[in-house]
């Protein structure tokens, strides 16, 4: 988590992401989906849906399952935990997560995290 400042990429302003919406961003050549939840928390996942085999997660519907904030893939609706990337419908599937934060209204995506 203690990534050096240089590896953070500013992708957009927070208002550019709708509440409970997502955007795709290009970070170090990789497609990253950045989401904003209802309480203005931001989360970042790999944009590639490994089950649907396409780069689309940013276009999914954001909501909750129980207490878990999640996004449902627009292709076949499998949900992914926004915090860990864990697929909630298939224990064997997980997408990468990225460090992400908001600094003075700007959304910054950091390096891919090692574990959940």
């Amino acid at each position: 988590m203690s990534a050096p400042e240089a590896t953070w990429t500013a992708v957009c302003r927070l208002e550019q992401i709708e509440v409970e919406g997502g955007v795709a961003a290009l970070v170090g050549g990789a497609a990253v989906a950045v989401f904003r939840t209802h309480d203005d928390t931001v989360h970042a996942l790999g944009n590639y849906d490994p089950l649907g085999r396409a780069s689309v997660l940013a276009r999914g519907i954001v909501g909750t399952r129980g207490e878990v904030p999640c996004v449902a893939s627009p292709l076949h609706k499998q949900a992914y935990d926004l915090r860990t990337g864990q697929c909630l419908d298939d224990a064997a599937v997980r997408v990468p997560t990225y460090d992400v934060r908001v600094d003075r209204g700007v959304v910054l995506v950091g390096p891919q995290r090692e574990g959940p």
């Binding site: 409970e20 795709a24 290009l26 209802h38 085999r53 780069s55 689309v56």
Partner: protein, 867 residues
């Protein structure tokens, strides 16, 4: 006889039971060894005689059990308008009359299914003009014609069929009287007290009831009926008289052939339905197993199965049948089952009567109070479904009654809900389906997930429909016991069905998802409830689907106003109303497809789909299309798709109305209308039905006099033919009914429930829809029309509005921080000279190798060219 010699099976009579026999013969493989010849006296193929009265609303076509007029199996030959005149059981031949008069036919096996004929008492005057019976479609046509010029009608016979005939006369606008010899109505089914409640109901509907009245003569003048002569009473004037005083088995053919007949009529048969000649069988109303004839269709069906079984060498036997009856007569529920008259020794009667509410219920129980023997229900027969399978008979011990059996009929005692049916209890008597069979259909081995699917797969509920509530209950109980939620909650966030949610949102006037979920739900929603709420808000408010706070509720298709494809690209479908398009517009579509490198295909919906558009290309593509006058086709929405047309009277030599103009008008009227599921329509210019209108949610077929409106059809996974809602409508009435129908559907259907399953799930089914839409019994007509008018006035093209709004356009970028860089995950290969998605190998990094060459689809250059 040689082993491979095919045998000939002749069926006499193509009524309900004859037809069921042939169906079973085909299904069970009897036609592998037998050629089947069916000889039917009536001019039309078998039809649903049980539903005969609905002929007036639905027409003959709807009643037909064999709409194509022939069997799919080529080994079955159907001779209509043909009679069997005589049978020679020694030579095994028969002589035909009617259309094949004089021909002779040889048979190996003969099945008599000649049914019954109405009994007309031997009194003077029954041959006068204006005297009818009530048995065939032709009878009803004749009655309708006579009623057109008459004022008063009388029915002789106050039994089940007599009341049905009386109801028909009343609905044809006649002042109607029922004359019954017995001291009460429906003497066979109900007791005195029940009959009295029934009489009050029938009189309350404006019919004259004359019980204990003996008809002695039909009075005539100039060869036409003018009234009935009654013993010891004043004559009853009437210009139309219908005899419905019971039926007699049609056993004349069998008698003449020397076969044994029962004392009280009917061809005598044994348990296998075999007559006194080993090669002749009899089934249905003409047969008398053990000397008794059965005037209901279910025992006839059972006999048909028994004979097929016997001919295949099986062990089936007919050992009597349940004579229970439940019907709704003129809006009054009447049911009678088991030993309704408490003739069993020691039987006790439990009676509940509410004269004010017009309800009478009686249970007949065994001396020890543990067994249900029978009962009568008048005014409220809702308990029938649960009670009937509990009845103990000679061969079936029934089900033990609860400690307080009266709870079963007391209005508050919802006790019926807790009664456990044993697995072998018959739930559907028409089709002999048990609880175990229903549970099998929804259980592990089965594939059903709903009562309507169970009906489709097991036939339970498919005939008279009286068991439908019980079928539903069995399914729900089964799911509930397994923790499968049958509560109709939309999802974990809303404990409401879509219909309930619709009402809640409408009543509270919510306009935002946040308010809806805060007030009526929990959590932050999901991919199920958010699009549902969005659809409801769109139906209620009619503003743009990408409006503030709405965008994030939409499924990706609605969110980008295009259909997502497997590789993350989108397809583009401009609206082509009715499938009609000018050459100029065709050229524009071709140019757009060429310039953006899109795969082009003619859809199944009479329009053109352009595939492979990257999300960021959509605005440029639509700019070109909108400039050329195209609008969104809503291929992405749960909304109106297309109204398919045929060329109709404008070009087609058979067309009787201008179907193309109507299709375009309807498509433009309902375009953009958000609904629980997609909606499709069709309009055909004549009965040849080239637009396949009956496979649509609403289908219109031109007639000489106007339009027939069919509703609730679909293709797809479970095809259903649309059913006639109303006939010969002028265009204005048609549109009014359609407005109401669609709005009624939108307000009350479940999420992703198309019109056919919606109608089936409605209490009362299509009849209910007709009551609400055509008869306007709820008085909702003008409200539904007003809601549709709001939609029509508020419509604007979603794509044009999107292009005009920079906020909405801002989202159509590949990457928020690199809007001009195409997503490297999207690549194409070529197939038959067009693009096709290349298979994805997994996530890719930009800068590795990006197979997007200059001029290739989706490259920045192409986007530029597109603008």
């Amino acid at each position: 006889m040689m082993a491979h010699h095919r045998r000939t099976l002749v069926v006499v009579g193509h009524g309900m039971v004859g037809h069921r026999f042939v169906q079973a013969a085909v299904e069970r493989g009897l036609t592998e060894t037998h050629d089947v010849v069916v000889v039917g006296e009536e001019l039309r193929a078998a039809y649903d005689r049980v539903a005969l009265t609905s002929f007036f609303e639905r027409g003959a076509e709807e009643l037909s059990l064999l709409p194509t007029g022939e069997y799919d199996d080529p080994r079955v030959r159907l001779l209509l308008g043909t009679t069997v005149e005589s049978v020679d059981t020694g030579a095994r031949t028969l002589v035909l009359g009617g259309a094949a008069a004089g021909e002779e036919l040889a048979y190996d096996e003969l099945v008599l299914a000649t049914g019954a004929a109405p009994f007309v008492p031997p009194i003077p005057g029954t041959d006068l003009d204006g005297v009818f019976v009530y048995r065939t479609i032709e009878d009803l046509e004749a009655i309708r014609d006579a009623a057109a010029t008459a004022r008063v009608g009388a029915v002789v016979g106050g039994g089940l069929l007599g009341l049905e005939a009386a109801n028909a006369l009343a609905q044809l606008g006649l002042e109607t009287h029922v004359v019954e010899m017995a001291p009460r109505l429906m003497a066979v089914q109900v007791d005195d007290a029940g009959g009295a409640v029934l009489t009050r109901h029938v009189e309350g509907l404006g019919l004259g009831v004359h019980t204990g009245a003996m008809t002695t003569e039909v009075l005539g003048q100039d060869g036409r009926v003018v009234g009935l002569g009654l013993r010891d009473r004043e004559p009853l004037p009437a210009e139309v008289v219908v005899f419905s005083a019971g039926i007699r088995p049609r056993d004349a053919l069998a008698r003449a052939a020397g076969l044994d007949v029962a004392e009280r009529g009917g061809v005598l048969v044994d348990e296998r339905c075999r007559t006194s000649d080993p090669h002749v069988w009899a089934v249905g109303e003409c047969a008398a197993p053990a000397g008794r004839m059965y005037g209901l269709v279910a025992p006839g069906y059972a006999m048909a199965e028994v004979v097929v079984d016997a001919l295949l060498g099986g062990p089936g036997a007919f050992t009597g049948a349940d004579m229970s009856t439940k019907l709704k007569l003129m809006g009054v529920d009447v049911a009678s089952f088991g030993d309704a008259f408490a003739t069993t020794e020691g039987a006790l009667e439990l009676v509940y009567a509410d004269a004010v509410a017009g309800v009478y219920k009686k249970l007949v129980v065994s001396e020890d109070g543990r067994r249900l023997l029978g009962g009568v229900l008048v005014g409220d027969a809702s308990a029938y479904g649960v009670l009937r399978p509990m009845v103990a008979t000679a061969t079936n011990p029934g089900i033990a009654l609860p400690d307080n059996p009266e709870d079963l009929i007391l209005p508050s005692g919802r006790g019926s809900a807790e009664i456990g049916l044993p697995p072998e209890a018959q739930v559907c008597s028409c089709n002999d389906v048990t609880r175990a069979q229903i549970e099998e259909a929804v259980g592990e081995g089965g594939s059903c997930d709903s009562p309507s699917c169970v009906t489709a797969c097991t036939r339970a509920g498919a005939t008279c429909g009286s068991c439908k509530p019980l079928v539903k209950k069995v399914v729900e109980d089964f799911f509930a016991a397994r923790g499968r939620s049958v509560d109709r909650s939309l999802c974990e966030h809303f404990p409401l069905s879509r219909q309930e949610l619709f009402e809640v949102i409408a009543v509270h006037g919510h306009t935002r998802f946040d308010d809806v979920v805060a007030a009526h739900g929990t959590g932050r929603g999901c991919d199920v409830c958010k699009p549902t709420v969005a659809s409801i808000l769109a139906s209620l408010l009619g503003d743009h689907v990408l409006g503030a706070e709405r965008r994030t509720l939409q499924d990706t298709n609605d969110a980008y106003l295009a259909n997502i494809q497997r590789n993350g690209t989108y397809s583009v479908v401009p609206r082509i109303p009715g499938g009609e398009i000018t050459p100029e517009k065709l050229i524009v579509i071709g140019e757009v497809a060429r310039d953006f490198g899109l795969y082009t295909k003619i859809t199944g919906g009479q329009r053109i789909d352009l595939f492979g558009a990257r999300m960021e290309q959509l605005p440029a593509i639509w700019t070109r299309l909108v400039d050329a006058g195209f609008e969104s086709g809503h291929a992405y929405g749960k909304s109106l798709r297309t109204v398919k047309s045929c060329v109709g009277s404008t070009w087609c030599r058979y067309g009787v109305q201008d179907s193309t103009t109507l299709a375009i008008m309807l498509e433009e009227r309902y375009r953009g209308l958000r609904s629980p599921h997609k909606l499709k329509g069709g309009v055909s210019g004549c009965a040849r039905e080239c637009a396949e209108a009956r496979s649509k949610d609403f289908g219109v077929i031109a007639t000489e006099k106007g339009w027939n409106l069919y509703v609730a059809g679909n293709g797809g996974a479970t095809p259903v033919h649309a059913r006639l809602l109303a006939g010969d409508l002028d265009t204005e009435t048609l549109v009014r009914y359609l407005d109401r129908f669609l709005m009624y559907y939108i307000r009350t259907a479940d999420r992703l429930q198309r019109t056919a399953p919606w109608v089936d799930a409605l209490d009362g089914g299509l009849d209910r829809v007709r009551e609400v839409v055509v008869d306007d019994v709820l008085g909702l007509g003008s409200e539904l029309e007003a809601a549709m008018a709001t939609h029509v006035e508020g419509y604007s093209d979603e794509w044009r509005a999107t292009l005009e709004d920079p906020d909405k356009l801002a989202r159509f970028v590949s990457f928020v921080n690199a809007p001009d860089t195409p997503d490297p995950h999207i690549t194409f290969r070529s197939e038959r000279d067009q693009v096709a998605p290349a298979d994805s190998e997994g996530p890719v990094l930009l800068g590795a190798s990006i197979p997007v060459g200059p001029g290739g689809p989706g490259s920045p250059e192409t986007v530029g060219a597109g603008r």
